[in-house]
Symmetry: C3
């Protein structure tokens, strides 16, 4: 099953790629590496989760927010590469979690994105990762993700 | 107009490259990629903005701090590559904003750097970006920037 | 003296590589670049420092925590590459310091890792670096490190 088919079989559809709110772009490709701008839990331009995890939001809500954020990263990959099937490997993800004082389960929250990467890409979705807790995120979102992806060679 | 000429036409001059305050270096090159150490709003070794944005500093002051920080990144690029004209593409920038409780306009602040990148490098300055709000930054600066740059091939 | 010999001559031994606590992997290699997952101050699965630097922990304790964290990154490198002697260059390190309100000596803390990199790898250990202060880290650790390393070509 292709990665695009796997996405469909999971009952998921990707949103429109999020539009950068300033003078930057959704992703930049250098050779086979695709560097993706920070993505947040929005759908079609609407923020769908706000608040700090461990306070306003439960860790389970944070997990969902990470999943929604990841769909935006996938939309960026598809836009840049034409199809998720052009992915060779998910290389690295840094997950920032807006954390209430004393909340230390950032890994649980970012698993919302990591688990989905592996569900879609299998072995190719196993990535290096860091999860940190930050004070504040843009538009009061609970999660922001930065990804680096390796694409199949040949069409850069 | 070359990138160096564009810089001059904007009335800007670069400071001396900031000296690392410890056992690291201003940048490391791997192939055509240049990884630049975190830069802060200093000029010739003097910090020129201190405090948290949204509290001690306005978002407009944060924007200026991001601009001053970027000049240090450009100084590092020129030092490593010989000239800004050796830049092929600004690949990625992560902007950390020391944020007062409840301040969520990190993108506005980091635009101070993004806007200047595009003013100088045009299309080549359009980068992938993430902006996050952090609790504290070194020397109480309001902004720290991490950049990855692609240089023209041929002289590594 | 090889890097492995240098490690031994410093009286250091590496722990077992830390096991990811979720659906990600310790490192991912793309060409000669090795991207390493976030490492924290643990030894054989046990966290050895907890708390925020500048409050619960002194900056000197933070420095030690950075050193212990780095040993885990080195264990990941050895696991991925077979030996530390396969390192061509330490490219970049981002150091996150869980910081008590008003603590701004993140560079001092992260020097615990930077100094050790240079002690082991010499010139090849001089890296680009950013140090930031964050609100909270997983499992209440005071330090988390993200590294990118260039390996010698030829055996990917």
């Amino acid at each position: 099953m292709s990665f695009e088919q796997r996405l469909t079989s999971l009952g998921l559809t990707l949103p429109s790629p999020p539009q950068p709110v300033a003078t930057y772009v959704p992703s930049v490709r250098v050779g086979d590496l695709l560097f993706i701008s920070g993505v947040v839990p929005s759908r079609e331009g609407q923020i769908v989760f706000q608040g700090k995890v461990g306070g306003d939001l439960s860790k389970e809500e944070g997990y969902e927010a990470a999943k929604v954020s990841l769909l935006n990263a996938l939309a960026n990959i598809r836009q840049a590469a034409g199809s998720l099937d052009r992915v060779q490997r998910i290389v690295k993800m840094t997950g920032y979690v807006a954390s209430h004082e004393g909340f230390n389960e950032q890994p649980y929250v970012i698993n919302g994105a990591s688990d989905l990467l592996v569900a879609i890409f299998g072995e190719a979705g196993l990535h290096a990762r860091a999860a940190v807790g930050v004070a504040e995120l843009p538009m009061s979102v609970p999660v922001e993700l930065e990804l680096t992806v390796q694409l199949l060679p040949g069409d850069s």
